[in-house]
């Protein structure tokens, strides 16, 4: 416990693995059909998995569905509509799923060419496997984040800043939730909450969080 009777922040790390679900879609209609019943973990993977898996640079669109519609179906308009979806804006993956279904259904009604356009390469639904473990790093005061963040592994950053949003009741990151317990860091908490992680690779996200702590505690 800290002086304020707040449990120390234990830094965890995680390792992820891509797992094939065996589901594929060759056109938008099939994508819609699969979306109706695919494991929520798969939808989560195709929105957030890009941050930790083997990939090239920064893709044009923010989730795998939008990227595939753009690359393979060549429908930029549907790709853009899917791309503006930010998972943290939804209370659950199923709510996000429903929004995607609505967008795709409307596009299919408005643009019947989509019914007949087949992709050269199918969309493969994947899901995430994850092993979470403790590191030996523990933080007792928010100030200590200043020295910790720069040396945090991408696995730790992903776990505490991204994956936390599906674990915590308020859908927020672990850092701001823990700092909020102290009750006297409202500005810092707001600054952390206001970071939109969806558009940043982990390297840039780390830099941004680090700058916030350094600026706040300078």
């Amino acid at each position: 416990m800290t002086e304020n009777n707040i449990s120390p922040f234990e830094i965890k790390d995680c390792s992820i693995l891509s797992i094939a679900t065996g589901r594929h879609a060759i056109n938008v209609k099939e994508l819609l059909t699969q979306l109706l019943s695919v494991d929520p973990d798969s939808i989560y993977y195709h929105f957030w998995g890009k941050l930790l898996r083997t990939s090239f640079s920064t893709p044009e669109f923010n989730n795998d569905f939008a990227q595939w519609v753009s690359d393979q179906i060549h429908d930029k308009s549907l790709a853009e509509k899917l791309s503006v979806l930010e998972p943290q804006d939804y209370q659950s993956v199923d709510e996000l799923r429903q929004e995607m279904i609505d967008i795709i259904q409307i596009s299919l009604e408005q643009n019947t060419v989509l019914l007949y356009t087949n992709a050269q390469e199918p969309f493969h639904f994947l899901k995430l496997g994850m092993v979470v473990f403790n590191t030996s790093k523990v933080i007792n005061e928010p100030l200590e984040f200043v020295d910790i963040i720069d040396n945090l592994s991408y696995g730790s950053l992903y776990f505490h800043f991204i994956d936390a949003r599906r674990r915590t009741q308020n859908h927020r990151d672990d850092f701001s939730n823990w700092i909020a317990l102290f009750g006297n860091y409202d500005d810092l908490v707001d600054m952390i909450i206001n970071i939109d992680p969806f558009f940043l690779p982990l390297s840039k996200l780390k830099e941004k969080i680090s700058n916030i702590f350094k600026t706040y505690f300078k």
Binding site: S15, L17, G22, F133, S156
Partner: protein, 410 residues
């Protein structure tokens, strides 16, 4: 090795590996393939096994052995799985395949039956599992080849064994099949410290000019691969000939070795030599399996590296070349598509004509050439080094202990 790798990938990545390994202490891990030398799988295992040892893991590597007919059969598997048509494997060869696996199962019985984890690499040893009905551990089929459109006869035959595994691993999601167990996606990697990839002295690099009669003042195109039809060495020669018309100074090196489990290598080598037609600027080099430093040096003296495969599981030579900051012209297939990004670190091509066009473009436009060179190394560091692959293998082993759970907490 861990200390040296830490200087490349950073301390947190190494700590991560050590932590994951701690969950597997005392477990026996066995890898099985069909050759100790030659080819990408043997190379991967050569790199991964010592690293696992340094991490304190009890990992061993065994090979299965067979007679010429066994390798003839498995080479047919290899060709037909990757799409070669109009072939049927006689039942006699399929029987030899199963018999050979049974003989190897008897020889390796104690090792495999008691192992906690068994990795079976590629189709050659896939049938071993049939002979271990009371196996103790989890068995994984690690497929390194492109099985996206397999020949039905071969796939049906192999599938009867593959369905018995606890999981499969494919290099690309495109290769995953409909199977009744989890299919994990793990891309291969290179070891930046191996003879094939380590930094070389100027003398070591320049030695290959005199050794193979190459002119350092003229552009060098290089393809490094086994002499295998799917690697399309003849297509590379055709591309070179098209380039030669407008850039007469160009030289081509086709460097390959042989693998113990590839009976067709010498035939394809002969075909390649015939296509080269004694052109003094085409250097067809049949190198011994341990010529890693030579290949390293050839990749470093090359201006452009090619991997014009028509089918490719992954294409580690692409990774190796990008690591040496070389632009790569690769066939638009398999794992090459994961590594070569058009106009970023190279070009993807579909034909010899396409390859010729891109070679001419790169040799003519120095700004483009320099830009593509810069991107390759960083890309490999972020995605395709051995530490990433070992991390994913360790994660897989941990997950296999609770296969129905997506998130495991320690």
């Amino acid at each position: 090795m861990l200390t040296e790798l830490e200087s490349i990938v950073g301390a947190s990545e190494i700590d991560h590996l050590i932590k994951l390994s701690s969950f597997l202490k005392g477990k026996k891990i066995v890898h099985i393939n069909s050759t100790k030398v030659g080819g990408g799988v043997a190379e991967l295992l050569t790199n991964i096994i010592p690293l696992k040892h340094e991490l304190g893991l009890d990992a061993t590597w065994e090979i299965i052995v067979g007679q010429a007919e066994f390798y003839k059969c498995t080479k047919m598997f290899h060709n037909m799985i990757q799409g070669m048509k109009n072939q049927i494997i006689p039942d006699t060869l399929l029987k030899i395949y199963e018999q050979t696996n049974e003989e190897n199962a008897q020889r390796l019985f104690n090792v495999l039956n008691e192992a906690d984890f068994v990795f079976i690499h590629d189709p050659q040893p896939a049938a071993l599992i049939k002979f271990f009905p009371n196996r103790k551990g989890k068995w994984v089929w690690r497929c390194h080849i492109d099985v996206s459109r397999p020949n039905r006869q071969v796939w049906k035959f192999l599938k009867q064994f593959i369905v018995q595994y606890d999981g499969s691993v494919f290099s690309l999601v495109d290769f995953a099949r409909s199977l009744p167990h989890p299919q994990y996606i793990i891309a291969p990697s290179i070891n930046p410290l191996s003879d094939k990839n380590k930094e070389l002295s100027k003398e070591e690099i320049e030695k290959v000019y005199s050794e193979f009669n190459l002119d350092p003042a003229r552009p060098i195109l290089l393809q490094v691969s086994r002499f295998d039809r799917f690697k399309d060495p003849i297509g590379v020669i055709n591309a070179y000939r098209l380039v030669k018309k407008s850039i007469p100074s160009v030289q081509l090196v086709l460097a390959g070795g042989s693998a113990d489990d590839d009976p067709e290598g010498s035939i394809v080598l002969e075909e390649t030599l015939t296509a080269a037609n004694s052109d003094s600027d085409i250097h067809v080099l049949s190198l011994p399996p341990d010529a890693n430093v030579t290949i390293n040096a050839l990749q470093r003296v090359a201006d452009i590296v090619m991997q014009k495969s028509t089918k490719e599981g992954f294409g580690l030579t692409v990774t190796e070349s990008l690591w040496k900051s070389k632009p790569v012209i690769g066939g638009n297939t398999g794992g090459i598509k994961l590594q070569v990004i058009d106009n970023y670190n190279g070009f993807l091509v579909n034909t010899p004509e396409g390859a010729a066009l891109r070679i001419e473009q790169l040799l003519s436009d120095q700004d483009l050439f320099k830009r593509l060179k810069r991107k390759g190394k960083e890309f490999v560091k972020d995605n395709f080094l051995i530490t990433r692959q070992v991390r994913e293998y360790l994660t897989l082993l941990v997950m296999l202990q609770q296969p129905s759970v997506n998130v495991i907490w320690y």
